[in-house]
Every structure is written in C-alpha cells, then in structure tokens.
C-alpha cells in the first residue's frame, strides 16, 4: 500500500467513515472544510509521527503542512530527508 493510501485510509476512517479511500482526493483541503479541526489536527500530527517515524516534536510544523494528503506526503518526505 502506498504512503498516500495509508494516510487516506486513516483520515477516512477517523473523520469521514461514510466514504472510502478512493473518494478522498489527494488535494482535498482537510482544514478549510473542517474535516480535520484544530483538536483533530494534533491527533493527526501525532499519528503521522508514529506511523512514519517522523520526529514531529523536533521540527517546526505549520498547519499548511497538513492541509491535504499531498501536503502531508511532502512534509514526510522533506523531514525524513533532512
């Protein structure tokens, strides 16, 4: 399973259980739509850290890094290669 699919599966099962992975576009704005609210965002960041071994406590994170699945993929890539 690709990283994108793993992320999507998590988001869909947590925040939009009526939908499937295929229905969540990678560019979907998770924040402006309220799908991931400020409380849920903290949980999502923690999950990404644990699932993909990203040291989320040590890097500076902006909400934009979690705005979409695409953004999260970029964030993982950049932090891991840093």
């Amino acid at each position: 399973m690709s990283v994108a699919t793993v992320i999507k599966q998590h988001i869909v099962s947590e925040y939009a259980p009526d939908t499937s992975v295929d229905e969540l576009p990678s560019s979907y704005d998770l924040l402006d739509t309220g799908l991931v609210d400020s409380l849920a965002l903290l949980g999502l960041i923690t999950w990404v850290g644990e699932r993909f071994g990203v040291p989320v406590d040590e890097v500076e994170i902006s909400p934009d890094d979690f705005r979409s699945v695409d953004a999260i993929l970029r964030f993982i890539e950049i932090t891991k290669s840093a």
Partner: protein, 497 residues
C-alpha cells in the same frame, strides 16, 4: 345587554350584508358540498341563538373545520362574545389550562350536524374580563414547547387586517380562495375571514386530507381557486405528485417558512398565471412583510428577502445585545448588520392574555412605537434589503462564533442532491458544542467529503458541521412538515451514548 347598544363588528356586518344581497353566492366549499351565503347566514343565526342560550364568559372552540364552526365564529363576532379558538389536537390538560386562563364559560365543540356545549362553570377569581374591542378573537401561539400563549385580537385589528387582505389580493364576489391552514391559525384571517367579509368563497381543506396529493389535486380541479395561501409543504406535495397546472390561480401566498428552491422552481409550472408572494408574519403581529417573487427568486438559489413592510408597519433591528442590552431599545442598528427584528403592525395584539408577562415580548421604541420582539434574526444589507437568518433561539456559539443553525440548514438544502436537512448543536466535552448535520440525500453519490467542500465555500468555518450523517430515509418531521429537531436530537444523543 340589548342588541341595539352593541358596537357593530365590521367583519360580521359586511358578511351579513353579502348574505342579504346575494344569498345564493357560494361562501364555502367543504368536502363535496357548497354552502352559499344564505345557508351560512342561517347557520350563523342558529349559532347566535345557541350562544344566547349559553350565556356567561368567553366561548372556547376547538378548531375542527366545518361550516358550523365558521358560523359560530361569525355569531360570536356579531354578539361581541369573546371566542378562544384552539387547536383541535391539544392534549386535555393543555386545553383545560388554556380555557381556565382565558376564563371561558363554555366549551363549544362544533361537529357536522350539531354543536356540543359543555358548561365550564364560573371563571376562577383571577380570570381576565375580556373586552371584544381588544379581545374579540383569542388565538394561541404555536410554539412546540410549553403551553401556548393566548393572543387576543381586537375588532379594530381584525377590521384593518381583513381590509388590507381584501385590497391586496382582490378578494370579493366571484373570487375563490383556498384555505389550507387549520382553523385556529392566523392565516385564516386572510383566507377565510377576509374572504367572507369581501363576499368571496373559501375552499376549506380538511386537515385529514392535507397531505394527500390525490385529494388535493382533485380539490384544485373541482374548485379552481384564484388565491392560494399555504405553507411551502402544500406546494412541495403538489409538485412531487406532478399535479396538473391550475391556470386560474392569480395569487400564491407562501407563508410560515423558507420555500426551498426546488419548490420555488416548480411553482410557475403549477400556477402558470400567478404572482407569487412570500409573506412574513406571526400570530402576535399578523402579516408584516410581503415580497413578490421575481424571476430570479423562482430559479436561483439563495434566500428570498422579507420584502417590503405592509402599509403602516414599522420595523427596527435590535443590536447584538438585543433590547435588553446596555443600550436599551435605543440600541437598534441603523446601517447594515444582523439583529433581532422588532416589528409593529396595525394588526397586532395588545399583549398576551392572563400571562405573567403580558408585554414580555413587546418593547417600546425611542419614538414610542410598541414593537413586538419577533425572536427572528434578520440581516440588513447595505441597500436596506432585509433577509431572515433564523430564530434567535437557534443561534448558537461555536468556538465563540455566532452561528445560526437554520442558516446552515438552508445552505445544505441549496445542494441539489439534498432533500432534507437538520442541523443541531450538541454538547461536546472538548469543544463546548459541536454541530451535527443530518441530511437526506437524493442519491448515494453524495458523500460527507463533497458536502464539506460545498459548505466550506458558503459558510464561515465555525458554521461547517463537525459531523455529517447522510441517510436515504426521511427525517422525523412535525405536523407542518418541518424537521423535528427534538426527535432528531434525541436520536443523535441516543446514538452517542
């Protein structure tokens, strides 16, 4: 009191004149029969005699529609005997409480063939003494919680209202008007009482048949009304059933609710020769605003404005803190903004009857005008256009931001795939309150992700529901076809525990 000394009631007098001059003109359609003015006047004469045989105190009439019930109302107007018109579906306890508060001496139950009179005994010591000048007809508020409030309407208010309705909708001889509302609703002041005063004919829809598309279509086909006043539900039923067009209709009056876009779009097909009016009002003030829908209102999304105040109507918007805020009633908004609508009409009640706070919903403006606090949240645009946002009761704070639940519902209903929507604020340990939306979708293609994106384009972030439930089943609804928030709330709370 000898009859000669009674002040005459203009509504009754005009009806009586019509009956004398044109006894064969149709007055009422009821089931398969037509009652003419002579026949109705004879029933009213009979009711007048019965009234005299049951003296003492106001009369309470459960509003079961029938020519006999209408005749009794006319007889009470003639006799100057205050009449309490109550819903026929009230529980016994609520009915008892209302008749006691109004000090009614008799309960009159008008059936098809007879009227049953029940002696309620002498009024209690605290009962009000009703004056027909200010309380000829007593209606009730229709709130779904608590005991309804008693709303007395005086002869002069009835006179002014029925005259306005007559002129505005060209009522009169040869004009047939559809009466959809139950007999105790203020809407009947237009479709029954103004019609009978003007010499027209009222088509009474039996509440038992009110949601039966086949019977409704048959009634239109047979009676061919020129004026139709109803809540949007009637038009939704007609549209969904594919009812044949009724070209005789000249005026359609939409009341009581926002008319959803799919219904607005269907209107010109149903009534190809009609003008469509949206009327805003409540039992306390009666009709206050009228907006005649333009082509855009009938085809495009968005909200229909409240329209123009009726002649003699004055309005103001209370500031964010309302008339109870530090600014007092002077704290009204002058420019654009959103606030509670204050309204004063020539048709309004003097205040609630036998109520701990008879003037509780009234406030005196800086110019001395006695305004009714509508409880409706209204926004005023730069150009002065007023639009209804929702009830102040349905305004909640989500993370410190004011949100109108009804506004969120309206945005959801604007989505072509959504048939019904209910939005509730439920308590949440972490967030204070969270908005939950329950929608009936027309197809399974629509999911919560698409709906969120749709809301994000149209609502502030705080107003986007935190949780969506999409279903194919009808939502629980009230008798007037509105979503039943109470039951929806109970369902959601049950699921979450």
């Amino acid at each position: 009191m000898p009859v000669g000394t009674l002040p005459t009631n203009p509504l009754y007098e005009d009806f009586h004149d019509r009956a004398v001059r044109r006894p064969d003109a149709p007055a009422l359609h009821w089931h398969d029969t037509v009652v003419d003015y002579g026949g109705l006047a004879a029933l009213a004469e009979l009711a007048y005699a019965e009234l005299a045989a049951h003296p003492g105190g106001p009369v309470a009439l459960p509003a079961r529609k029938s020519p006999r019930a209408i005749a009794l109302v006319l007889a009470c107007l003639r006799a100057g005997r205050p009449l309490l018109l109550v819903s026929e579906s009230l529980g016994r306890r609520t009915l008892n409480e209302l008749v006691e508060r109004a000090g009614c001496g008799w309960l009159a139950e008008a059936g098809e063939h007879t009227t049953d009179w029940t002696d309620l005994g002498p009024a209690g010591p605290g009962a009000p003494v009703l004056d027909p000048a200010t309380a000829g007809l007593v209606l009730t508020t229709s709130g779904s919680t608590g005991t309804p409030k008693l709303v007395p309407l005086g002869a002069a208010a009835l006179d002014r209202f029925t005259r306005w309705a007559h002129e505005r909708f060209g009522l009169g001889e040869g004009r047939t008007v559809l009466n959809y509302a139950p007999l105790n609703f203020d809407l009947c002041l237009l479709d029954i009482w103004a019609t009978l005063r003007a010499g027209g004919c009222a088509v009474l829809v039996d509440p038992e048949h009110a949601v039966d598309p086949r019977r409704l279509a048959e009634l239109f086909e047979r009676t061919r009304p020129q004026v139709v006043q109803a809540v949007p539900m009637l038009f939704r039923i007609l549209a969904e059933a594919g009812t044949a067009p009724v070209p005789e209709v000249r005026h359609v009056v939409l009341t009581g609710d926002h008319t959803p876009l799919p219904v607005r779009r269907a209107l010109p097909g149903l009534f190809p020769s009609a003008e469509f009016h949206s009327v805003y009002g409540c039992t306390e003030t009666n009709d206050s605003f009228l907006h005649t829908l333009g082509p855009a209102d009938l085809t495009e999304g968005g909200t229909v404005p409240l329209g123009r105040p009726l002649p003699g109507v004055r309005t103001a918007l209370a500031g964010p803190d309302g008339p109870d805020g530090p600014d007092g009633p002077d704290g009204t908004l002058t420019g654009a903004g959103t606030g509670e609508l204050l309204v004063a009409t020539p048709f309004q009640t003097d205040g609630y009857l036998a109520d701990g706070a008879p003037g509780g919903r009234f406030t005196t403006g800086p110019d001395g005008t006695r305004y009714f606090r509508s409880g409706d949240l209204v926004s005023r645009a730069e150009d002065g256009t007023l639009t209804l946002v929702g009830r102040t009761d349905f305004q909640v704070k989500v993370r410190g931001v004011r949100v109108s639940l009804e506004e969120v519902e309206r945005v959801l209903l604007g989505h072509p795939e959504i048939a019904e929507a209910g939005v509730l604020a439920l308590p949440d340990r972490a967030a204070g309150v969270r908005l939950h939306a329950v929608v009936r979708r027309r197809s399974e293609r629509l999911n919560s992700l698409a709906l969120r994106a749709y809301c994000a384009e149209r609502l502030s972030k705080a107003a986007i529901p935190a949780a969506f439930r999409l279903t194919g089943d009808p939502l629980p609804s009230t008798s007037t076809g509105k979503v039943d928030r109470g039951r929806l709330r109970a369902e959601l709370l049950e699921e979450s525990t």
